[in-house]
């Protein structure tokens, strides 16, 4: 299971090439790139992002999300590479790829992993703008995206 924390910028196309090179006859690969936006939700220009992380809990959270995806979907391989530290606008923050015999499982696994990363990955994210710095917390829509994958449906 390929989970990695990257303290420096990484080339997503190389990650994808390495990932597909390790496959053995799967019919589908789905990949996702999360890219640092250049504007805050209020439209201010972002100078940089700071992704603070925990020396052990962050990797553990990524591994738990990957293990849950393996358990839940019929995928044969999964890769998550997540940046930490200083991230410039336009740089890739996260790369996720899943491989499966058939496409549906690969699509769903990547959808699931990216939703869970938004609320369950152990990161603290600060946006620095000309007006100052502020720490970000998950938005309500991130929690409701996460909730889509809840094991027990909400009572009617």
């Amino acid at each position: 299971m390929g989970v990695r924390l990257a303290g420096e910028p990484f080339a997503a196309e190389r990650e994808l090439a390495q990932f597909t090179a390790g496959l053995a006859g799967e019919g589908a690969v789905m990949s996702f790139l999360g890219i640092a936006r250049d504007r805050t939700t209020d439209g201010e220009k972002v100078e940089r992002l700071v992704l603070d992380h925990h020396p052990r809990l962050t990797l553990r959270s990524l591994n738990e999300i990957a293990a849950a995806a393996h358990e839940r979907f019929a995928i044969s391989a999964l890769r998550i590479v997540h940046r930490s530290g200083l991230v410039a606008p336009g740089e890739t923050i996260v790369f996720v790829a899943a491989a499966a015999a058939h496409r549906r499982a690969a699509f769903e696994a990547v959808d699931y992993v990216t939703d869970r990363l938004k609320t369950d990955a152990v990161f603290w994210k600060r946006e620095d703008t000309a007006a100052g710095a502020h720490w970000i917390e998950p938005r309500d829509e991130d929690y409701s995206a996460r909730e889509r994958w809840s094991e027990t449906p909400c009572p009617e």
Partner: protein, 80 residues
């Protein structure tokens, strides 16, 4: 005892602070003590959304810190 900070608390207080351990002290008592020492960070130190972590596990407010060398305070996660 060493206290580790992350996210907004790291900005306010640095990576780590050392305080003398007190017998029978719980997480909630430590928060009050730290808030007194660092009034500007008090709202975060006292916030129930900021969780305490010992030996890589989240602990409750009545957790006894005696015998533990390090406790960490984790603000709400931003996600990936």
């Amino acid at each position: 005892m060493r206290i580790g900070f992350f996210g907004r608390l790291r900005d306010a207080l640095g990576d780590e602070r050392e305080v003398a351990g007190e017998a029978g002290e719980t997480v909630s008592r430590l928060r009050i003590r730290l808030a007194g020492l660092h009034p500007r960070a008090a709202p975060d130190l006292l916030s129930p959304r900021v969780r305490a972590c010992v030996a890589d596990e989240i602990v409750d407010e009545d957790f006894l810190l005696g015998g533990h060398e390090r406790v960490e305070f984790l603000p709400p996660l931003s996600g990936g």
